[in-house]
């Protein structure tokens, strides 16, 4: 083994770190945008909603750059074993993050399209709980990626059940109050519920991909257990 060889492999290891750091930064931007979106809805702030939409351009650009970088590394380094699992999973984790970013934007655009709306008090507290819970879940998904913790998936999956519960409550409240709040807002709020629930699902998926990177198998053993869009 020559020095050149070690240098090349050293650079390879560095490029894997770069990808992971890049994913975490991207995830950080999406997390920030998700929180911003929740705040925009709860406080009826169109300026914040516009910031959410504006920030998505950078998210998309970073996403494309990172994805291209992963393909390039795969083509040039022909990774195997743990490296291969990491890079293949990276393309999937990037997808989960980018989709979450789009969902935050969808929520913000809904507010802008309606020129703002005010949530009735009961809904307001439910949406607040939901927005906090799914942002927290997303943060935990990113933590799993940061620490490469294969156990995180199980805990996050449990936390996701709570999100699903709040969403259920929100749907029931919408159904009870549809006439009071108006048909259009009722539909928009059920969309919001759906967006936030999906962000939680993406967080669970991220943690499951992390478990695969580390252990070589998915929690529960079956890749099809991963939820689809």
């Amino acid at each position: 083994m020559t020095t050149d060889h070690s240098d090349a492999r050293h650079r390879f290891a560095e490029s894997l770190d770069e990808v992971r750091t890049g994913m975490l930064e991207l995830g950080g931007l999406v997390l920030e945008n998700t929180r911003r979106m929740g705040e925009a809805l709860l406080e009826n702030r169109l300026d914040l909603a516009r910031t959410v939409v504006g920030a998505d351009e950078e998210i998309d650009q970073r996403y494309s750059r990172l994805e291209f970088r992963v393909f390039e590394i795969m083509a040039r380094q022909q990774p195997v074993a743990g490296d291969l699992r990491f890079l293949v999973s990276a393309t999937r984790i990037l997808y989960e993050i980018e989709r979450s970013g789009d969902l935050a934007v969808n929520g913000a655009k809904g507010l802008l399209r309606r020129d703002g709306y005010t949530l009735p008090p009961h809904m307001h507290s439910l949406v607040a709980r939901l927005a906090r819970a799914s942002a927290d879940l997303f943060a935990r998904g990113l933590d799993a990626l940061r620490s490469l913790d294969p156990e995180a998936a199980t805990a996050i999956d449990r936390a996701d059940d709570e999100v699903d519960e709040v969403v259920g409550e929100l749907y029931r409240a919408i159904a009870r109050n549809a006439e009071n709040i108006g048909f259009d807002l009722a539909i928009e709020l059920s969309r919001i519920g759906r967006y936030l629930e999906r962000i939680g699902d993406h967080a669970v998926n991220i943690a499951e991909h992390v478990a695969f990177v580390v252990t070589g198998s998915f929690p529960g053993g079956d890749p099809s257990a991963i939820q689809d869009e």
Partner: protein
């Protein structure tokens, strides 16, 4: 063409039918194999079972004993005076180092291809015909030469110049000629020791395609330091490494032997992962 098939080969050495061996008696079984060169222990305590009609790759850092183990399979180590083989090597269930075994007969049953193409300084035709002549082949020699060259994917390139010197061929062609020579005596095993390390990528690819083609009829064992080659062509991969003893002695051992897909996606040993991902040394 009437030639001894692998079935009769196996019978003559007391084994069963190779075709029936998937899940049955392996072609080779190494049982606690250790090899010494004089007082130096080169490899220690290797257990390995190699199935019929599979390509098995031996990988690992240089000096870990891949060639040494390969040479035990056709008793080539007999030719090295200082070499001592301990433990058992069974071929179709028969102890290869047993008293009734003729090492020359063993070597005839196992074609061998080396790192550097090493054709004889003879014509292309004579290179292939040599082995069958020596072993007293009774049938039509022209047919046998053509058949062997076809199997080695070389026929179309040389059919009009069979009487020309083998040295006029390119490196890749010479290596395929050596493969034709190795299979002309109708072995059931082909052993290859870094057969592509002197070849360019195109010639390498042809040899790799040829190996996959040949495994229908032969059991192939290849030593390679090209891990992508092991990943591309082999069914099973054995990873060897070197342990450095307190005395400073470097002794090879088998770390992991498994399906190639498993080795290159989820090896079970840390040492394997570090080696195949290049995080060694």
């Amino acid at each position: 063409m009437s030639m001894d098939g692998p079935v009769s080969v196996a019978r003559s050495l007391g084994g069963g039918t190779p075709g029936a061996e998937r899940g049955g008696v392996p072609v080779f079984e190494l049982d606690g194999l250790s090899v010494d060169y004089g007082s130096f222990r080169a490899v220690e305590d290797i257990d390995l079972a190699i199935g019929a009609n599979e390509i098995t790759a031996f990988i690992g850092p240089s000096g870990c004993g891949k060639t040494t183990v390969l040479r035990c399979l056709n008793r080539m180590n007999d030719l090295i005076p200082s070499a001592r083989v301990h433990g058992a090597v069974r071929y179709h269930g028969v102890d290869l180092y047993g008293p009734r075994i003729d090492p020359v007969e063993v070597r005839r049953r196992m074609g061998m291809v080396f790192q550097k193409p090493n054709p004889f300084p003879k014509s292309i035709y004579e290179n292939v015909a040599f082995g069958p002549r020596v072993t007293g082949h009774q049938g039509n020699l022209d047919e046998l030469v053509e058949h062997s060259l076809r199997r080695a994917a070389l026929w179309d390139e040389v059919k009009d110049k069979l009487r020309q010197s083998a040295y006029a061929l390119s490196g890749g062609q010479q290596q395929r000629l050596c493969i034709a020579r190795a299979i002309a005596t109708n072995p059931d095993v082909v052993l290859m020791d870094e057969p592509c390390s002197a070849l360019d990528p195109i010639a390498t690819l042809r040899i790799e395609e040829l190996m996959i083609e040949l495994k229908q009829d032969y059991t192939i064992i290849i030593v390679t330091h090209n891990m992508q080659q092991a990943a591309r062509v082999s069914d099973r991969t054995a990873f060897f490494t070197v342990d450095i003893k307190e005395t400073g002695a470097r002794t090879g051992r088998l770390v992991e032997f498994d399906d190639t897909g498993k080795i290159f996606t989820k090896p079970s040993q840390r040492a394997t992962e570090d080696y195949i991902t290049g995080r060694f040394g």
